[in-house]
Subunit: 308 residues, 2 copies
């Protein structure tokens, strides 16, 4: 019952200095004095689409629902502040499920200093929906947007890409600390997280920035998962194709001026891999650069929600 969940949440949700009033009122009250500009992001995840509850520990679903939102804050180079959680629960098993979802979220929230400020809990005969909204503080360096890339910028990618459906899409580490560190120390032009597929998300960043992008396919960091998935599926898709088109890597793509990119790659400031995979170019569209320098068009591929 809703009342039991609220009682449990009051005990279980950690206190946080930002949180003037948490669970139990018509709204939570946050002290945002320290944050003149805020990033606000929302992502809703659904059972059967973003995870399969009958196959996984529900704590992993809760963790993922929070992690994808943290990844959006990372893509803006915003410091996590606070979040609210809306649950639409199945009527049977809903209370246990809700507790487990929160148990998946809480350690991740604590790791990133995020206050879980409250939420809304509903029930119905349908599958679980988890919708999380996060607020993040824009640092003095300003927000890292999708629209600031310039022709000539190098494209850097964190981590390794492809095949996250084998499990990484549930357990990935959002690149919050990496984004904040890079944005503080270096002059980044633009950033996006790879949620729908490298080639699709890169084409979006290029379009928003009014330029094109080329990829040096040999330089793309391919995840072991991408190799395993290609081997498992044996549908002719290569590991590289998985790295280009699979969604939910939740790594970062950054557009960085050439000198600054060189500096980052020399400094190696991150404990995770960082690779130069291409370049923003004048004009439009997405291209692959052959060994001889020739450009051929590359079709953006990835995950898009289809509705008509």
């Amino acid at each position: 019952m809703e009342r039991d969940l609220i009682r449990w949440l009051r005990q279980r949700l950690p206190a946080h200095p930002l949180l003037k009033r948490g669970i139990g009122d018509d709204a939570a009250v946050l002290d945002l004095r320290g944050a003149a500009e805020c990033a606000v992001t929302v992502d809703a995840l659904m059972d059967g689409v973003d995870f399969e509850l009958r196959e996984i520990d529900p704590r992993r679903a809760g963790r993922k629902a929070l992690a994808v939102n943290l990844s959006d804050l990372a893509a803006m180079a915003a410091e996590p502040l606070a979040g609210v959680v809306a649950l639409v629960l199945p009527k049977t098993g809903g209370l246990e499920l809700a507790k487990n979802l929160y148990e998946g979220m809480i350690p991740l929230a604590e790791k990133f200093g995020l206050a879980i400020a409250g939420g809304d809990t509903n029930s119905w005969d349908g599958p679980l929906v988890v919708s999380i909204t996060l607020l993040g503080k824009i640092t003095p360096r300003g927000a890292l947007t999708r629209c600031g890339a310039k022709a000539g910028d190098r494209i850097l990618a964190t981590g390794a890409l492809g095949g996250s459906i084998l499990g990484r899409h549930l357990d990935f580490e959002p690149r919050v600390a990496e984004a904040l560190l890079l944005n503080e120390r270096y002059a980044l032009h633009a950033g996006i997280d790879v949620s729908d597929g490298l080639s699709l998300d890169l084409s979006r960043m290029a379009e928003e920035s009014g330029c094109g992008a080329l990829l040096d396919l040999d330089n793309i960091p391919i995840a072991d998962d991408a190799r395993r998935l290609a081997a498992q599926l044996s549908d002719g898709s290569t590991p590289l194709e998985h790295a280009l088109a699979d969604g939910e890597d939740f790594d970062l793509l950054l557009a960085v001026p050439p000198d600054e990119a060189r500096r980052i790659l020399a400094d190696r400031p991150l404990s995770i891999p960082l690779a130069e995979i291409g370049e923003m170019i004048p004009g439009r569209g997405l291209w692959r650069r052959e060994a001889n320098g020739k450009l051929t068009p590359l079709a953006p591929r990835g995950w898009e929600h289809e509705f008509a």
Copy 2:
């Protein structure tokens, strides 16, 4: 398609001075310089539970999804600032539906000065879910919480209650302006909006405040809808019972010190009805006061999301 919706939203969503970056990035960016403390609230509404899409214009569903959140800000006496919208759309007809939902939200957002900052759009084989998160500015008078009521406070109710299922639950006016005006001019102790039923929500406010509450049943403003519904249902429930237990009135209950309540009722500062319906009392529980002053227990009744 998601892309078409984003293109449409960019044209259609009004600009707003708070909105530094709206639709089209990983997160929206808000200028919250003017708001040291913020209320944050989220409510998810589902087709088949909170409205029936096959029976109503979808714009009314969109309007309701925003209005219930505005009502939560009203209950905190917070000024609407900005909101984000997460949609889980059915795959067929989803684009048209999404546009209509937004068409229902936009006039209400404009009326209350709210920036619609962005959102997240998903699709699946299930029914529509709309989850909206709002930020509101806490004014210098502070937040109006559920927990500040004191024994002796008079209980004031705006509007008239009961029978909102006949249509008012879709088209009600959130009491934002009224809450802000009353909280600015008078010393209110506590407030809550009637979302789940007068008797249930009042008992929650009493419980949060560590006191009890009594109702003078003769003074409860009964909506015409409550009378119509009682007549239609002919299940023996009276209009008063509907006023006590029906949810989704989205009127305000306020706990106000006696002198201040007298002043408000003499000033008549609102253009909507405002009635004194009872009193906060020492002890616990919800009571009705008979004509002879005797107290009898009154069971809190209303809507609760059930899950086990």
